[in-house]
Structure formats: C-alpha cells, structure tokens
Symmetry: C2
Subunit: 589 residues, 2 copies
C-alpha cells in the first residue's frame, strides 16, 4: 500500500485556489495555513498508519452475519476507534453536541484522506454524519439532546433506510408501514435493502432513519414520513436498553466495498419516533442530500487518487522495454514504464482529473458553508446546480481513471494480491448509490437547470465568462481559450435542450448524461483556469515551490488540451436530439 | 441467466454483410444459410443448455490447487466434454488430424456463442487452438502426427508460456533456459506466470508451449526459442507416460474469469522439444498472434452481448417511475425502466457497438481465411493492420459497454447474486492479456501503419472512400456523411502522426491510443454503412423480416450519430502533439 496524503495539493486548493483564511464565511478566518496543515498532517498520519493497512484486509475478509449480528473484518474496531477517539467524526458537528464546529470544508478535506485510505471503513462515519445532519435539522430538542452527542462521537452510528425490494429510485412505491401508537411513537414494519452499515459490532447502538408510510398521507412520495428507529431503545439518559424489532437478515456479497456491511433489514413492529413533520419525510431526506452527494463525488476522485499513486509507483519501479529516444537507464536491462508515452498519457489523464475534481469538490464544500453559515441563497442555488455534476461526472470519471490506473499495472493489476482490482471494484459503487448517475443527470436537466428560470446556470456561466476575461497574461491563453470554447458548447447545448424540451421531453432527457458530462468539463476547466492563475502569480512572485507550481501548470494544460475537447462530443450528441435514442419500440431491443 | 444466441444477427452478418456462400474463398461456397444456421443452432443449444448455466458456478467456486493438481469448478468437466465430444474444438482444424476443415470464420461465429455463455470455460479450448496452430505451422511431421490429433479433439489441451515475473511485454528479458541434451531434446528450467489453463483436471495431458533461451542465441528477443513441454511425456503411439518436470505452484486469485486456471508454472529441468527453428521462437509465436488477438477482440463484444441481454431483460421487467410522456402501463404502479430516455441511451450504445463489432470481427475472420486459403498478401496486410484495432478498441469499448449494462441494473447490478458484476470483472481482462491495449496501440502506430510505406492503411481508406461513394440512396446519407467525416479525421490524424514521428517519436506515440480508437470508429462506421445498405436493399426488395431490418437501420443510425463524433475528439488529442503528455519529469508525478 503506497497511499500518501497529497498535503501540498490540499494546501494549494485551500489556500491558493480558495484563499480560505481571507474568506468572509464565518469560521474561515481561523483556517490559516498552519492550522489546516496541522489538522491534515494528523489526518494523514491516521490514514497511512491505521486506515490504509486495513483496506485490503477488509476486502479479503468482508463482513459476515453471525447469530443475528454482523461481524466486521479484523482490525476494523481499532480503526474505527482511532477515527472517533481522535475526534475526526466530530469535526464539523455543533459544539453544543460535542463537535468542534469547524467548517464543512475541513470535514471534506479530511474525508478525502480517509476515503483514499479506506473507503469502506470511512462509510460508517459518513452515514452517521448524515443521520446527525437530519436530526440536527429536523429533530425536536429532546431528540437532539438524546441522539446528537452520541452520533457526534460515533458511540452510536447511523443509517439511511430508503430502498425496498420493489422500490429504488421511485420512492413512491415504498411499502414499509408506520402505525401510530397511543404513546405518540409508531410501529414500523417492512423490509429495507441495501442498507449500508445496517448492522455491525463496532458501536453501542445504531440509529436507523427509516422512510415509511403512516396513515393518511396519500399516494406516492407525498405520504412518506421519516422515523428514528434505534437498534436498542435508549432511556432518557441515553443508555441503550431493550432490543428493538429491527434485525439484519442478510449481508450482501458485493463486487466491492466488502468491508461495508450492506444489509437487508427487517423492521417487525419496531418502535419508531417521527423525525420532523408527518408526511414530510422526503423533504427531511432532501436536507442531507447535497452533503451526501458531494461526499460520493469525493469518493469518485479520492479512490482514483489512491489508485493513481499505486500506478505511479509501479510505473516508476517496473522495467519493461526502452525509451524510444534512447535508453533512459542504459546500465539496467530495461527502462521504467514511465518512459513510454502511453503510460504517461494514462498517468496524466488521472492526475489532471483528480486535481481538478478535488478543486471542484472543495469549492462545492465552501459553497455549502456559505449557504449554511451565511444563509446565502445564491450560493445555495449554485451548489444545488453543481451537486449532480459533482456526484455524477466525478464518479463516472473517477471509475474510468481508476480502471486506467489498473491498466498501468498490466496483468499484475488483475491479480487480487495487488491493490488495483479492489480500487476498481470499490470505485464502481459510487456511480450507483446515492442516486444512480442517470438520476443525477435527470436531476440536473429536469430540476436544477430550469429552477427559477435558469438563474443558477446563468450565474455559473457568468462566473466562467468573468474568469475568461480576467486574465491578460498570454500564458493563461492555454486555459481561457479552451474554457471559452467549452462554455460556448455548454450554452449551445442548453439552447438545444430547451428547444427539445418544449417539443418532446424524451428528446431533452436523451442528452441528460451528455449534458452532465459537458458541464463537468466546464467546471473542471474553470477550476484549472483559477488554479493556473494562482500558480502563475506565485511563480511570478517567487512564492511557493517552483517545481510544484510548474507541474501544476503542465497538469492543467493537459486537462485543457486532452479532456476539454470532450465538450464538443457531448454537444454533438445533445444536438442530435435523441431521435436515435428513442427510435426502437421496446420489443426491438 | 438470460443469454440467448442472437441467431438472426449472426445470419445477417454471415449472409447479408459478408455474403459468404457467394465468396471466392475456398470452402465458403459450402456455407449456405441452411448449413450455417444448423451449425449455429446446435452451438446455441450447447451454449444455453450447458455452458451458460456453469458461468456463475465457475465464478463462485473458482479453481483450486490440491496436491499439485488444479481442480476445476463443479460441472466444468461435463461442459468441456460436451464441447469436445460435439466436435466443437475441431471445427476449423485440418481433416487429416481429425478436424472438420471448416473456415476460420465458422470457428469465430461459434466461438461468439461460447464466449457469451461462458468465457472462462471456453478459454481452455481457445488456448488449445493456439497450440494447435503453432504446431501445425512449425512442427515436424512427427510432432504434427503426435500432437495435432490430440489437440484437435481436446483430449489434450494446450498452453502458451511467455510471461515471467520480471518480463511481460518485454520478452527480451526472458530468463527461462533450455539446455540441449544428447538425445536432441532440451532441459527447460525457469518460472512462468499468468499461464492460462496451466494446469487443470479435465484432460489426459497438457501440451505447454514455452519460450526459453537456448545457448548461442544472443541477447534480447532474437535468442528465444519455442519448446513443446508436455505435462506427461507421451510415447510414440501418443500414450501419456512419465510425469515431466513441470508443476503448477499457484493458481492466481483474480478479479474475474475465476474459472480460468491462471497458474504460476515451475519448469525444473523439464524435457522439452524444439518447435520450429532454433532461436526463431518469436517468429513462431507471431504466427498465432492474429488469430489469438482476434479471439480476444471477440471476447470484448461477446461478453458485452451477454451483459446487454441481461440489461435489456431487466429494463423490460423492472418497474420504476413513469414515462415523461404519460404512463405507459397505467394499470401498474410504475412503468418498466425502458421508458426512460437515459436507460434507452445506455441500451442503444451497447446494441450499436456490439452489432458493429460483430461485423468487424467476422469480416476480420474472413480476411484471415482469404489470407490463409488463397495466399492473399493484400488480405494479410489488411488484417494485420486491423488486428490491433479489433483487439484494443473492441475490448476497451466492450468493457465500457459491459459496465454500462451493469449500470442499467442500478444497485442490484453491484450484488454478486446477479450476473452483472461477473460480466464486468470478466470483461476487464480482455483489455490486458494477449498484449495490453497500450501494446496494441503501439503495434498499430509503430509497426502496422508504417509497414510497406503505409500501403495497408491506404488500401483501408480506399475501401472507406469506395463505400461512401457507392450509395446514391438518400437514406444512406445518414451513414455515408458521418463515415466521410470520420475518415477525414483519420486521414488528418495520420498526417499529424507522420509529421510528429519525424520530429519526435514520443509525440506520435502519445496519440497512439487515440488513433486506435479513431480507427476503431471508422471501422465500425464502415461496417454499419455496409449493413445499412444491405438492410435497405432487403427492405426495398421485400426480403427478410421488416421489423428486424428497420431496427438494424435505427441501431446503425445511433452508432453514426452518437459514437462516430468521437473521431473528432481523438483527432483533437492527436493534433495536440503530445506536448502535455510528456511535459513532466518523472519525479513530478
């Protein structure tokens, strides 16, 4: 395992791209470089020393259901203890509930390290964080007092129970029932599937958040409510007591993230407590959605980062063949793989995507902070627009780049003794869960673009235009020109979609995936343009590490040259209007 | 398991695209529609009834090494027996050695069915076929008489031993030694890795073909010879006798094709017999390369076909959400997935790729027949040019389309109880083995394009031009126009590569992957143009199934509209000249 946290890159995004300590977002002034570096160095240490060595163990051993309890792989308890005892699960939780009150951006930066090191183990705290946010936003004072301190510390962990055998994306099909009881609680009955961290043996209690239908709510998603269903019913002082009627029936055998216990959960008259308003469960779920989806978008590039590091190490170490321009190491029997142009192409594609996606994700996290901490409606609209792109584009590309990293290893990348297969198998899930990438594209084209007459996307295009105009330095032309071209393609695509949408909604949605990808490239092009400007300014001013900054610029130029031309491809597909996509009757497939 | 052999599509390619029974290739006149249909129906029956049901069994059980012998999964012996006893392993072998003497094209068509049904099991006969070809081309009369009947019938199976721990692509690094003995045989000593079907318990003997260095051959690949090393030393009558000094040390635990026993093989003074000329082992290996690589290119689309069929079945069955244009099944709680445009997009991408790749593969097989059966040097040059494209492009896209099929299944596609994960994991290897796709791209740009002053690629471009000019029917414009555009892009790319190559070989090779993909799209565009012309002619003449032909045209239009614009993307990358690919010093990665 070669994973090392890319501290210099994290610093660059926080302080040169986002200039966090100069930001007007409350709490950001405290994020000076020495503070963030100290936090990230500790997170890095935990990642390298504790989490990363457990990653392959988790993959090999997986989770197993024994006598009604899910057993985690060896060492995971110690890894989880290190996470929670170090306060890492409390970073951006409210101080009144035991958290450290730091910005969500810091949680995001630290999360990258943990996901790269051990995606499966980190999911347990990720889900707990989601449950924390839901109860923090919608819980009664008593619910907050009872649950939030335990979730902050991860003494208890959380789950989200949405999916059922007959119902995935279409939550209107939910059958799980909640019957009101005389004491104000509910009896919850039904079967939920794909419940991450649905059961495990690492915490004293598990707080299930469950979507269910209570009487009187009507058909479809409108009638759904959200309930807190603890595994062990706590008394008022927070001591877990009686076992509730919720049990794991099965741990799924999955393609990857073997150490994440994905459970089938049976709720058999389990006692549940309404969270938020009756029949308003969908709204309560949506509260957490931006953060949850940004977290999955982060997984897209964070696993690719770990895979890239392994590919880089292999390319520098493994010797096959000779450089075309003359032997690089004539005293050796062969040159390292990195002399070969196609190996370089693969590494540069990975590096340029990962660094761009990190910038977009951190910027997105700062927009969430701005929206939450300043009640900034514009920031909220912008991040809501970007979320399906961050989730869908970054996980599609993250998987592609992880597979590319695996390819650098040749045959050895296919053998399970080496880390590359696990990275590819783990990365695959991020395209599926938290709303498949098809659902992200639908969300983007069907909801986010048209919201408020397209105000958010116009604001985004305005940012891109301003960025293109801001740079007079001729060295910036390698960035602003491709960005201007891609932005033009995006505008043309938006025009085409609008016309198609009025004529035939199927035509517009045929291009939804293409639009998500087109916009992803414009987003990363924008990030790279901003990073290039910062790197050039530092180089001109003699600040920073010149080799690092020069490499940053070269990596950015690779993205602009090699990846941004995909924008024209996606535009061509969108302009075709989906005629060929919808041409066949179902029986002709 | 839903796999059904697409007999109508196979018929269409054989008889409408290739018009085999009207061909002047010796043996093709016998391939009339009723004969090929009878063969393919039997192959389909074996695929559905015997091979496909074993596919998941093989994935779950894998192969295990027990007391020095590799044990295959349950039922594999019966499956292998059905293959060989039905004569399926002898289809295109010479009649004098017990084969049926059919064209290689028929072997290819039948192979598609078997690979779709069970890629891992079919590999055993695939490797045996390779050993057959090598001995048929280079063996002495006695070697042919001893080995070929056994390999034809698959009583014995074959292997190829190239890779060693320190040497993959770069065969000049081989360390396995062959010491000449007084009796004319050799003692072979060394370790080989990644040996498919290196050991198993399904045949009486295993014939290892081993690359090794005999004294006096000099450095690098020039000094390598090829040896026959049987697991059991046969007497002159072909009865396996003494155990030879070759043993499996390990069965690899791989990402996929679990039922293909990939072995580490130890040769410890094993008796070997020189095959072909001393120190000419590389040339002997190259004899089999076109067929072996075409076979892997076939795996690319054949696994995608099986995955597509599962995705189609799921999209027709699973109900989530409603069609945007009004409920398709108002009496049901939700509509089938296939009403959703993004699901259609995924299915159409798969279908259009698979049908195009099948056409290209079968055309390639017919070129191999033309080259071999008619000593046609032009056909040989053309197929040699196309082979890296068929292998590299089709396995890259085949994997991508298999992953797309998995995506249609949502969360259920990630669960190992369902077939989609296995398809994705199995498909992944085809991008790696038989020369990684990076090696294919290098072969294309570095060897095949410049061969004989670019004669083959000019001939290929001539075929494309002729096809574009051949069709006056306005309905053909949807094919000829995009093909003309893509062909222009290919020509521009070739010009750019040539200029770059003279300036800096690294620049040209930075675009090798892009060129391979660009050429892949032109190839499939050519195939679709020819298929469309055939379908239109049939429709105009009232021949054939109108619904099938109309769907064929619509599928082709999707490829031309949705996939061919990738040509421009690859051209843009090639024209960038690789400057950004090679920009970083190794330590900056």
């Amino acid at each position: 395992m070669t994973y090392q946290t890319p501290l210099t890159d994290l610093d660059f995004v926080l302080h040169r791209l986002l200039a966090v300590s100069a930001s007007d977002i409350p709490g950001y002034a405290d994020l000076d470089p020495s503070f963030t570096r100290a936090v990230l160095e500790e997170a890095a240490k935990l990642s390298h020393d504790v989490l990363a060595p457990l990653n392959a163990v988790g993959d090999v051993q997986g989770c197993r259901l024994e006598n009604g309890v899910v057993r985690m792989p060896e060492g995971f308890q110690a890894g989880f203890d290190a996470l929670r005892q170090g306060g890492w699960t409390a970073l951006d939780c409210a101080t009144e509930f035991g958290g450290q009150g730091l910005p969500y951006l810091m949680h995001t930066a630290v999360n990258e390290c943990f996901v790269s090191a051990n995606m499966a183990l980190n999911m347990v705290q990720g889900l707990t964080h989601g449950a924390y946010s839901a109860i923090a936003a919608h819980g009664s004072p008593a619910q907050k007092a009872l649950y939030l301190p335990k979730l902050t510390s991860c003494e208890w962990t959380g789950t989200m129970n949405l999916t059922e055998p007959q119902c995935g994306t279409d939550l209107g099909l939910i059958r799980t029932k909640a019957e009101p009881q005389a004491d104000g609680s509910y009896r919850v009955t039904g079967t939920k599937i794909f419940i991450s961290a649905g059961d495990h043996d690492m915490a004293d209690n598990i707080v299930h958040l469950v979507l269910a239908k209570a009487p009187g709510g009507g058909e479809g998603t409108k009638g759904i409510s959200l309930f807190i269903v603890p595994k062990f019913l706590p008394d008022a002082s927070g001591v877990p007591g009686l076992r509730n009627g919720v049990t794991p029936l099965k741990v799924e055998h999955k393609m990857g993230i073997h150490a994440s216990p994905t459970c089938v959960m049976a709720f058999d008259g389990a006692q549940g407590f309404l969270l938020g308003d009756l029949h308003k469960g969908m709204r309560a779920m949506f509260t957490m959605m931006n953060e949850a989806r940004l977290g999955v978008g982060l997984q897209g590039y964070a696993v690719a980062e770990a895979a890239y590091q392994s590919a880089r190490a292999y390319a520098l170490d493994r010797r096959q063949g000779r450089a075309l321009t003359g032997a690089a190491d004539p005293e050796q029997p062969a040159d390292p793989l990195i002399v070969h142009p196609d190996i370089r192409r693969m590494l540069m594609d990975q590096k340029a995507f990962i660094e761009g996606a990190r910038a977009l994700t951190f910027w997105g996290a700062s927009l969430i902070d701005r929206a939450h901490r300043m009640d900034d409606a514009e920031a909220d609209a912008l991040i809501s627009l970007l979320i399906p792109v961050i989730k869908g584009f970054q996980t599609d590309k993250g998987f592609e780049m992880t597979v590319t990293a695996q390819q650098v290893w040749g045959g050895h990348g296919y053998i399970e003794d080496n880390p590359m297969s696990q990275f590819a198998r783990d990365a695959r899930i991020a395209m599926i869960y938290e709303g498949t990438n098809g659902v992200q594209a639908l969300d983007l084209v069907g909801r986010k673009l048209p919201a408020e007459g397209g105000k958010a996307v116009q604001a985004f295009l305005g940012l891109v235009k301003a960025e293109c105009q801001a740079h007079a330095d001729p060295a910036m032309k390698a960035f602003t020109e491709p960005l201007r071209q891609a932005s033009k393609a995006l505008q043309a695509a938006l025009g085409a979609l609008m016309q198609q949408g009025m004529r035939d909604p199927n035509a517009a949605l045929s291009g939804s995936n293409a639009l998500m990808h087109l916009m992803g490239h414009v987003c990363l092009g924008l990030m790279w343009t901003r990073m290039a400007a910062a790197a050039l300014a530092d180089l001109a001013g003699g600040a920073g590490d010149a080799a690092f900054l020069t490499a940053k610029l070269a990596t950015g130029r690779h993205y602009m040259t090699w990846a941004l031309p995909e924008a024209a491809l996606h535009l061509a597909r969108i302009q075709s209007g989906g005629e060929t996509v919808m041409a066949l009757p179902p029986e002709a497939f």
